[in-house]
């Protein structure tokens, strides 16, 4: 056993720290209000951040940092550990360290795509030139993804897409959809879906905004009306889309914004040391000390799941149920952290960003709303518990 990083990994962390300090806009700390493990205040999800995000992504690409976790033969470094170190640092700064394309789609493509497809897509993704959105959920297919209705009909060299996706985060600022559609209406469950890359500019696509409870346009509804998708854009095998999505989900579960947990804790510690209530420094109050200490313990526990999942991936093991535990524990901790932080701020916690008296720039107030999302998106807590119990612990299915 050894719970430490190699010297190279430590040096790498320093390098990413330097990068974040020099490349993020000077007023970034003021603007960025991302809540750990939330999906509604994602850095860069707001259209106003698009240019900044696109540029940052290209800079990360030039460093070779968007492909850290990919296999060497795909231009990567084959180190998920480095990938999560980078994400830890960038999320500490509440900044994006990649995109759906780089962290979810690309490693999946590396595993299952044809060589031509890899050649066509991976270099551009590694350069930070492409952004993707995830087109899984539909109004009547959330947890039960196999019941999707969007269909892709075979038409020579293309599939023709018809249907609707919902909760499509960032579809309005992305280039391609990573879309699951039915290609065999008569196949048994899980055997008739195909995953494909859909260019947002294709005629027949309509993207409509949905405002989330933080008041932010992160979600969209995406409608497909006879949208032609070239067959070369199919990811993996036709009718094997469900299996591809399961692989991709494992990478998605690493998205917990690890560093942002650490950041919030640090900010709260500073806040209670600087704030007096009833003549007493808050940090001297045993109740408050206890709450923050409890959060520190939970955050350290989450780090355990985080590093372990990456370590397993680096050894070629499937992190199951570890990745589900990381996602479940992280997103539920996100809610607890928000609640605890609000209790510590007291009545001032009610104040929104922009208020004179709002502590920590209203970050906690917004985070309290966003903290709802983690335990719902990317497979709900109930679904994760099911995965842990069945696939992890071998419990029988009904």
């Amino acid at each position: 056993m050894r719970f430490d990083f190699t010297d190279e990994e430590k040096a790498f962390r320093e390098e990413v720290e330097d990068f974040a300090r020099t490349e993020l806009p000077p007023d970034w700390d003021e603007k960025a209000l991302y809540w750990p493990a939330g999906y509604g205040t994602f850095p860069g999800i707001e259209a106003s951040f698009k240019d900044m995000y696109d540029e940052l992504l290209r800079k990360l690409g030039r460093k070779g940092w968007l492909s850290l976790g990919w296999p060497k033969e795909c231009g990567g470094m084959n180190s998920m550990t480095r990938h999560v170190i980078l994400d830890d640092v960038m999320s500490y700064h509440r900044a994006p360290g990649g995109d759906v394309s780089t962290a979810i789609a690309a490693p999946t493509l590396a595993l299952i795509a044809s060589d031509e497809m890899k050649k066509e897509w991976l270099p551009r993704i590694a350069a930070g030139e492409l952004r993707f959105w995830l087109g899984y959920s539909e109004p009547n297919a959330g947890s039960d993804l196999a019941s999707i209705k969007t269909r892709a009909d075979d038409d020579g060299d293309a599939f023709v897409l018809n249907g609707q996706k919902i909760w499509s985060s960032g579809a309005h600022i992305a280039d391609y959809g990573w879309v699951l559609a039915k290609t065999d209406m008569n196949a048994p469950r899980y055997r008739g879906e195909t995953l494909m890359l859909v260019d947002n500019r294709t005629p027949g696509i309509t993207i409509r905004p949905i405002i989330n409870i933080c008041g932010i346009h992160s979600f969209n509804e995406v409608f497909f009306d006879d949208v032609r998708v070239p067959k070369k854009n199919v990811v993996g095998q036709i009718n094997q889309g469900f299996y591809c999505v399961m692989l991709a989900l494992q990478y998605e579960r690493l998205f917990v914004g690890m560093g942002a947990f650490r950041r919030v804790l640090e900010e709260l510690v500073r806040y209670v040391k600087e704030t007096k209530r009833q003549g007493m420094t808050l940090g001297k109050d045993p109740l408050i000390r206890n709450k923050l200490a409890a959060m520190a313990i939970e955050i350290e526990t989450l780090y355990g799941f985080y590093w372990r999942t990456a370590w397993m991936m680096d050894r070629g093991q499937a992190p199951e149920p570890e990745a589900s535990a990381l996602k479940l524990f992280g997103t539920e901790l996100s809610r607890r952290l928000a609640g605890t932080a609000m209790e510590i701020l007291g009545p001032c916690g009610q104040l929104e960003r922009g208020s004179k008296w709002a502590p920590l720039r209203g970050l906690i107030n917004l985070g309290y709303m966003d903290s709802i999302s983690g335990a719902i998106g990317a497979g709900t807590s109930e679904v994760q518990r099911g995965i842990i119990a069945t696939r992890g612990l071998g419990m029988p299915r009904k």
Binding site: F219, G339, P347, I372, I376
Partner: protein, 377 residues
Amino acid sequence: MDFDLTVEQKLLQESARDFLARECPRERVREFEETGEAYPPELWRKMAGLGWMGLIIPEEYGGSGGSFLDLTVLFEVMGFNICPGPLFSTVVLGALPVLAAGSEAQKKAILPAIARGERLMTMALAEPDSDGDASSIMAGATPAGDGFRLNGIKLFVPYGEHADSILWVGRTGHGENAGDGITVFVVKNGVPGIEKTGLKTLVRDRQCELLFKDVRVPKDSVLGKSDLGWPVVENTLEKASVVLCAEMIGGAQAVLEMSLRYARERVQFNHPIGSFQAIQHYLADMWMDIHGSRYLLYKAAWKISEGMEAGMEAAMAKARIGEAFRRVTLQGHQIFGGIGFTKEHDMHLYHKRSMTGDLQLGHGDVHRERVAVRLGL
């Protein structure tokens, strides 16, 4: 033991439910949150017509002489419908202390107008970095001529911009206890020297910052006795906590009902999600949390109604119910999945209120400490 409401209380409950379902559906609440309006004036007039502002005001002052328990019943319904407006600040933070401590002249001047729905009231208590406790009250009142001069800053004053009069809590002296030397003043909103700034809060509930700069008030504006105002405030806060609990229980009940309905309708994996054990367990926990809490609420309300000491019960209720409401809304959100995370859905209205309700008037930790004190610790 009798766990039932009286026939009159049931009538009140039913008519309030019907009225608010009709006049204050949740779409209206959402619309209203976006406007800058103080309160929906037409709704307010109709509520006055139903006698809600005068419910607890004795008949001799133009009210209907109802009990505190009646008020609790009404506010549970208000919370169910998350009905906006200054009823809480006017009746609970205004009429109750005037009733408890006001001079005959003050009662005559204030209460009938409240009962008619013609006067809005509020209390200005909390200051920066305080939880509204006596020791943190710095705002001061000094004798000036035939009255007083008031100075200081107050935060989180509900409807502070709109209230016709403010019960302003300030320090007139110091004594052995932090509560000694506190005086409550009835201040007409609009006298020179008051600066008002609206606060942007999670629930657009029109709280504001009030800055008093040399505000002159006459001697007879003191509510009760000079220097002896803290017990009046404490008593008001105790009742206010219980009423807030009633609103929160109503809110939690609404979340449970919405969740039950959705769990029956929403189908995944070819079954209503309510047939999955995970969801059933949430619903069972929600129900248990609400029903357990409702007992604490009504026991506290009943004791207050009967004129009994209810400090322990009020603290237990406030400590538990704020957190129970938070738990219930989180479970509700879990049941609704993605759709509950949108602005158009109603869940966030309750989610926000659960947090705000827990924080206002002291959250769980504050009230557990009060329970501990009463345990002899």
